[in-house]
């Protein structure tokens, strides 16, 4: 048992928070005559949460009960928390992010997968109960605002979905369809190539062990490079998942001139199960496209576009 001296900083219903003179904060039991600012001497036996002391414990039974309660609570909480992680969506812009959602598509967490994502998330506030659709859009728009997606670059966004359930394939497809729908319906001020893919749970584990987002892992695994970056293959560069990391300074050579009728924004990107998943109305590049990756060109909204129209069919590039 150890004794500490702390200053009471906050008194709550069930406990108080003290700050020790070496800048540590502790939760201690509430007792009589507690006053904000008062110095108190307390022991590890007074800590509300799991005692940190590893020294001899006089009140062994209490400690055991506390530990047992803690373990039990942890188990119960983990049981409750488990269903929360229903699916993972990775968004590689670069920044590279991994979004965890629950079954109702509420975002339960966003993990930065590289330093650019750190910076992006620094500027992004994830509110409680925010749904995936809103988050994806906000992240894409924020990436634009922060200069990761600009009209000067050949922008590539890789969206990857994985549902961690028995019927994961159909679940993932459904989720990806929703994501594509959202992107389709949203007006952006910049062009980008959207590469979408659905993956399996086992791949997420491997991606994690490699320290990569699911999407970047999938790309590396299948030696896939998105349009505009294929040229790099000719150079003596290893096909690494960092392909998206490279600032897209590559000139947009051989960018296909789209027939007037096809200069459309993303439409109905729902056929990702097909062998040749070509969503109608989209300009599709098929070279170097393994079946699992679907490529969609999304054009910037024209300034003349009427926002009230909902879908942006026929919306060409700004100029």
């Amino acid at each position: 048992m150890r004794a500490n001296k702390g200053k009471i900083m906050e008194i709550l219903e069930s406990h108080a928070v003290v700050m020790t003179s070496d800048g540590h904060f502790n939760r201690i039991k509430r007792k009589d005559s507690m006053r904000i600012g008062a110095d108190v001497i307390y022991t590890s036996g007074d800590l509300v949460e799991k005692p940190s002391s590893k020294k001899g414990w006089v009140f062994g039974l209490k400690a055991q009960v506390a530990v047992a309660t803690f373990v039990l609570l942890t188990l119960v909480m983990s049981q409750i928390a488990m269903p929360a992680a229903y699916a993972v969506v990775s968004l590689d812009i670069n920044p590279s992010l991994q979004i965890t959602v629950d079954e109702s598509r509420k975002v339960v967490g966003i993990d930065p997968m590289n330093t650019e994502a750190d910076e992006l998330l620094e500027a992004y506030v994830l509110n409680e109960d925010k749904d995936l659709h809103a988050v994806i859009n906000e992240l894409i728009k924020l990436s634009n605002a922060m200069g990761y997606l600009t009209n000067e670059n050949h922008n590539v966004i890789l969206a990857t979905a994985m549902v961690d359930r028995k019927n994961s394939k159909s679940g993932s497809d459904e989720l990806m369809t929703e994501i594509l729908d959202v992107i389709e319906e949203t007006e952006y001020t910049f062009d980008f190539t959207l590469v979408s893919t659905v993956r399996e749970a086992s791949e997420l584990k491997n991606a994690k062990s490699e320290g990569l987002s699911l999407g970047r892992y999938a790309m590396a695994k299948e030696n896939f490079l998105p349009p505009g970056q294929e040229k790099k293959i000719e150079e003596p560069v290893e096909i690494e998942p960092v392909a998206l990391d490279a600032e897209p300074q590559i000139e947009e050579e051989e960018k296909p001139t789209l027939p007037p009728g096809q200069e459309k924004k993303v439409e109905e990107s729902k056929n990702i199960d097909n062998e040749k998943p070509v969503p109608p109305g989209q300009a599709i590049k098929e070279q170097n496209t393994p079946s699992k990756f679907v490529i969609t060109e999304k054009k910037a909204a024209s300034p003349n576009d009427n926002k009230g129209n909902g879908k942006n069919k026929g919306g060409g590039k700004g100029n």
Binding site: A3, M9, E10, M19, S21, G23, H24, D39, I41, D118
Partner: protein
């Protein structure tokens, strides 16, 4: 697992001293559980009574009936209860110097409370409380030193503080660049670092003084 047993403490004065030192937290805990409040200073009367009772318990313990701690708990509790009863009967007869001391203490504690209240309000603006800081403050003393030192340096930078009060967050990238800190460290402890920066920027002198030991200790180190 005590290195010295009560029996050894009973016969050897040096062992007794070590034994008592080792049992100070035990005394604090026991006294506090009797009074129902925390001991506020090392000069607390009840605490002194508890220490004295521990000393007596060492002499009285014969090792035949129970564990020393069980025995000592009873001795300490009875002694403190006796003391409290006496105090109640006696009532409070304060001398002039007691009154003056009490007034001084009270004014200090009012300042302290005001500082903490103001600090609490600031934290609220940033979207967290002291209770949140329990979970996010660095657990290791070296990390705390590092975070406190960083918070202090941030507070000295006017631009950073302007950004912090405006954007309600740390300018992580710039901090990383200017202070050559690891991004991971700043992210991991950003709330803690931010709190420290506010303490130093707002000149919360009593809180500053309170955590000053950490920094003062640090000054002796290489930097």
């Amino acid at each position: 697992m005590d290195s010295i047993s009560a029996k050894e403490a009973k016969i050897d004065p040096v062992s007794r001293e070590i034994f008592i030192k080792e049992h100070i937290p035990f005394v604090i805990y026991t006294v506090s559980s009797v009074t129902g409040r925390y001991i506020s200073t090392e000069n607390d009367m009840e605490y002194s009574i508890g220490l004295e009772a521990l000393n007596n318990a060492i002499d009285a313990y014969d090792g035949s009936t129970s564990k020393f701690e069980t025995f000592a708990t009873t001795v300490i509790k009875n002694r403190v209860i006796d003391f409290l009863r006496k105090e109640n009967r006696k009532g409070y007869q304060l001398s002039e110097s007691d009154v003056m001391e009490a007034i001084m203490d009270e004014s200090d504690s009012v300042d302290m409370r005001m500082e903490i209240a103001e600090f609490t309000e600031h934290l609220k603006k940033f979207g967290f409380t002291f209770d949140d800081l329990v979970d996010v403050s660095p657990k290791h003393v070296n990390s705390r030193k590092r975070a406190i030192r960083l918070g202090m340096r941030i507070s000295e930078n006017e631009n950073f503080m302007t950004y912090i009060y405006k954007e309600l967050k740390l300018p992580v990238s710039n901090i990383v660049k200017l202070f050559k800190e690891s991004r991971r460290f700043v992210y991991l402890h950003n709330k803690y670092i931010l709190s420290i920066a506010v303490i130093f920027d707002k000149e919360y002198s009593i809180i500053k003084e309170w955590i000053g030991d950490v920094i003062r200790g640090d000054e002796y180190e290489s930097q």
